[in-house]
Symmetry: C2
Subunit: 431 residues, 2 copies
């Protein structure tokens, strides 16, 4: 029986597993360092207090429980031994006949990792609740302040990066300050929040058509968001961002500017692009290793295209399924095929009732686009229960203008944290 | 205009604020170190992955937004100046005409605070998600293990304290291992989990009638929980508990054994009991300070009773309302009244479809009791939306045997945590 190891339970890995499920000739082990699959396109809604983490995440183990040939392990894979056909985790090592790498992407600060503390990115549940904590805390801190300069700093939100995530975050903060929080404060008016979307390129949403990006800009401005284009952030600190000689005092800075492939890519001996993504063959395998496949954000696939495929859920889903089908094809004795991407278009939401959609030549924006956005996201949400709950939550928020998860949660859970170690005693005290 | 300061947004403080709302002669400031009111009776369901934090918590600011005479501040009050009629927070200081202290309780490890790291208690959202993380992680770790001794250690859950919280936690772990997780693992059988409820006294649920405690014990045993009474825990470490000379190897230990009054009580110059609760007069005021009231778990009220009032939501709600009414009475020129507690009884759930209820002479247990438990908790849940969502979640869980929030969330949100400082260089390196 052939053993397929899948690293990563995102869209690509999970879909590959599903399409290998119930196969009699294949045994599958899916390894992920998390216990949950995350529906990343809605993660910004957790960061913006609209949804709870559990509404967009489901245990991988449970999703795959019905496939008796699949084992799910929670472990972090830290090395890949291509020659020995093994992956090595912190707690386990697994030998494979076929390997599917689908570890996704993480943020890139372009060599300025020290900016992360001041400007969190949005890739995990932990980061989403951290951002939620910072955004809600900013309004609380402004309410406590009487110094107008400090108040303004607390009420300034800088979002770095004008791609879909940056646009969705900025729109959601705009909506929150204008509607959700409007009546809840006494010393401040949340509507006076300054929300600045900072993009280094000449326009936001470069992957969309210019007229849609223009529509998005106007929708953002209606929510009070200032869009600064051609503005390259040159420094980030805990109290603001610098754009060349300009400086904006902002208590909350969010990073949505760049991604790079997951760290495990560094341990794979294969050609990579400048984002660390593994260059794959036309069948998504690694050159010289037909038994190793890479899918999703971790792969650079450019065959017959000007640009590599973008980091979209649709790409990951199709690639995961395609790899599973190729593996089954080979076991049946058929030839492998080459991957072809079916472009399903792209879409982004702006605030509570606007979106933009681009499907080939078909482009539109506004309320109808937002309804389509809603239906598409509900359709793809994993799990019957989550679909119903997210739909209900959205309906409730839409009509009440409220948000369901306005919680500030801290990192420390203990009442009695251990005391810091005593200073070393000895001759050098007081030096 | 009289300024009433309320410290704490739990059942007592929030209810006091509501009953002072819209009063023309009173200005109210409610201070809490959290931004949310927590519906503590259901916190164990968050710890047991059944509900999301946001479903049992709501922003205090929003609950009170309609009362224009109430200001909500998020701050931690660290000192009380009774003589100067001021409370001092980390970020603000507030002068008051009347003060309501309602800071609640925290866990007590009877002088063994170092046990907390190994045996978290359940008072906050952070603790609930920490417990959820540990319980779910235990099953994951057991699945990765092949050594049966290690597997058994991972699948052993020790709950210290046989009060309602301990019983509810033990029942929920029993339910989880028997139903929710039963099909999801390959190397282990979750049903083999050992769940031990350890109580120092001669029986569990001492506040309930003996026959109900007996019913609860049998319901727990049906869920695979072993009930150990007359068993005093003498040591807790990261890999187990000791009961005198006995030793149980358990990877997960939960603490539900004792509480003490909130830390702020120490800063109030007044008589206290051995749990640190402030002894209050018959009108809930502090002796010698008729303008200072204490309510809820922070108060020791024993007038005309053998035992002080227990730490129940019903007590806190009634006391909060009573204090608000006395303050309004005085402003109208009427005399203060003395507090009288209306006993509404008590109830506890055991697993997915059993509960016990005691209302005076009226005592029953089983499925009907569980339905009553359900209705009571839904009725008291704050906020229209939370009620609907919790009800739906319960209905879904009841019929599907699943749990809605099986997420393991870690504490670290950063991809690039700062490196630890370099070791000091100098003469003593290599010593």
């Amino acid at each position: 029986m052939k053993h397929v190891v899948i690293v990563g339970g995102g869209f690509a890995g999970l879909n590959a597993a599903k399409h290998l499920g119930n196969s009699k000739d294949i045994r599958v082990t899916l390894v992920d360092r998390r216990n949950h699959h995350l529906f990343q396109p809605l993660l910004y809604q957790v960061a913006m207090a609209a949804l709870s983490p559990a509404e967009i995440a489901a245990p991988i183990r449970h999703i795959l429980a019905k496939f008796r040939n699949i084992t799910v392990l929670q472990d972090e894979i830290i090395d890949v031994d291509l020659a020995g056909r093994r992956v090595i985790g912190r707690d386990c090592a697994l030998a494979y006949d076929s390997l599917i790498l689908a570890c996704g992407a993480r943020h890139s600060y372009f060599g300025h990792e020290e900016w992360e503390e001041a400007a969190p990115g949005l890739k995990t549940i932990e980061q989403a609740t951290e951002i939620r904590r910072r955004v809600l805390n900013a309004f609380e801190a402004a309410e406590r302040q009487h110094d107008p300069t400090q108040q303004r700093r607390h009420l300034t939100f800088a979002i770095v990066g004008g791609g879909p995530t940056g646009v969705e975050l900025a729109g959601a903060i705009g909506e929150m300050s204008r509607y959700t929080l409007a009546q809840d404060f006494r010393n401040i008016n949340p509507k006076q929040a300054r929300i600045i979307l900072i993009e280094a390129g000449p326009r936001i949403l470069p992957s969309f058509a210019p007229e849609l990006a223009g529509k998005a800009s106007r929708a953002l401005e209606n929510l009070g968001v200032q869009v600064w284009t051609s503005s390259m952030v040159t420094n980030v600190s805990s109290d603001g961002v610098e754009i060349g000689r300009e400086r904006v005092e902002a208590a909350t800075i969010l990073w949505a500017a760049g991604v790079q492939a997951s760290k495990l890519s560094q341990r794979v001996e294969a050609e990579k692009d400048r984002l660390g993504r593994i260059m794959v063959e036309a069948d998504l395998s690694v050159k010289g290793h037909p038994e190793v496949f890479v899918a999703g954000d971790q792969a650079h696939f450019a065959h017959g295209r000007q640009m590599p495929l973008p980091g979209l859920a649709a790409v990951a889903l199709q690639q995961g399924r395609f790899i599973a089908e190729n593996i089954r094809r080979e076991i049946r004795g058929d030839n492998r095929q080459n991957f072809r991407y079916t472009d399903k278009g792209q879409l982004a939401a702006i605030g509570r009732s606007r979106a933009i959609i681009e499907m080939g030549k078909f482009r539109f924006g506004g309320f109808v686009a937002w309804v389509v956005w809603l239906l598409v996201h509900i359709y793809y949400l994993i799990g019957f229960k989550n679909r119903i709950f997210v739909t209900m939550n959205w309906a409730w928020s839409f009509f009440s203008f409220r948000r369901g998860a306005r919680l500030i949660v801290t990192k420390e859970w203990r009442f009695y944290p251990p005391r810091p170690p005593a200073p070393p005693s000895g001759g050098d005290i007081g030096k």
